[in-house]
Amino acid sequence: MSVLNAERIKLLSTRSPWWCALLAIALPVGLTALIASQAQIQPGDAGNGVYITQMLSSLGRAVVLVMAALSITSEYRFGTIRSTFQVVPHRATALLAKTAVTAIPAMLIGAAVGFGSWAVFQAINSFPELALDTAQDWRAVAGQVLVFGITAVLALGVGMLIRQTAGAVAVLLVYALLVEGLIGLIPKIGDDIQHWLPFFAADRFLGLQDDIPQLRDLPLGPWGYLAYFAAVAAAVLAAGILSAQRRDA
């Protein structure tokens, strides 16, 4: 408990997490408002239902990737990781506490992005298909909580492995925003690989753009994909903690 408390103080005693959080929420919610104000939807043709309100969540997710990676790499950058390990010599404990204290705000940001985007769209351009009726609808909106939380865990794991802000941020963003998309361009094997990529899995859990024909024959269902995404994040985190235990601080 005391370790969690220490990590909480660390997180909240600098201003950058607040700015990141603000950015992570304001960017997608603000742009969603812009979309809502321009959208001209005929009743009945909004086939995508509530998904249309969540299309910009990836912006918030990208900011969370950066924020979570920074929370560990900045400790290496400023040498405070040594104080951390000096106070809590069990590195796994210290790093798990940090993971918890980073993942929880990420989940709150996810909630704000998911429900905020949905609410702002509803407020500006309300139509019946936007109601949260089915389990699928709820997954698309409330599911952001879990996706943002797991995204933060994955980013922390990568940060622990790379320990260097520029490298970790570049790897995470290029991977999430470019690699996963480009792999689909590889003929024959591309699709099969893509079906097992973590952020692809996260999007399938949320059910974004589910009506595209390439996405019909998927190996897992939405909850299976969430479990898979969580398992990948957990594996990366475990690798990060192991590497931190083995290397000199």
């Binding site: 742009l31 812009l34 979309i35 321009q38 959208a39 001209q40 299309m55 910009l56 990836s58 912006l59 990208a62 900011v63 950066v66 920074l70 790499t73 802000t165 520029a166 941020v169 570049a170 963003l173 290029v174 925003l177 470019l178 690699v179 480009l182 361009l185 590889i186 003929p187 024959k188 094997i189 591309g190």
Partner: protein
Amino acid sequence: MTTLLATERIKLFTTRSPWWSAFLALGLTIGFAALVGLNHNGGPLTVEHSQFGMQFGLMVVSVMAALAITTEYRFATIRATFQAVPKRTSVLVAKTAVVAVLAAVIGEVAAFGSWVTTYAIDGGPEMAITTGADWRMVAGVGLVYAIASVISVAVGTLVRQSAGAISILLIWPLLVENLVQLIPGIGDDIHDWMPFTVAGRFLNGTGPDAPMGPWASLAYFAGVAAVLLVASLVVANKRDA
């Protein structure tokens, strides 16, 4: 200016970052071209297939170029730099020039390397570089990398901070430029003027709806870079180092 260029060249190449970047950019683009070539079936391979991975190199070069300036702020060597040469504009222009030349070289090697690789795997007459469009698609990569690196140095100078600069430089072209299309009505019009989208049209052809031809597209991309560069120079001159 030659001294300044030499200084910046030494600074860049005495760290490992340019070597890593070149290695990564070439490995990713050429490797991806090989993957595409090896798995291709149905229809002959075209020049376009060989350049599918050019964005990998573009992102690596963007990060490398931003780091070239942000690490100077990070390690406070920028003070030593401005102490040695108080004319900040000259220093930054020299740095931009050196980085841009490196980016251009990486771009050309990546593009022709990718083309040669795909050609070697399964080259047919469709793989030949014959038309102006073919040449732009391959030889144009170096130009795009160079201009993108100028944007990166400018953004790096404005932000002065690695994490921020890299986030902006990656999230902008990879995410923001695509997401604006989602804005109903005006989205596509905005998308048409997004710098990296326009640069892509220089390489891959403009299509019927594009507002400009390929060379005008390149000029527009270069114009955006020039505006950012000037803005960064003005700011760097005003601010304390």
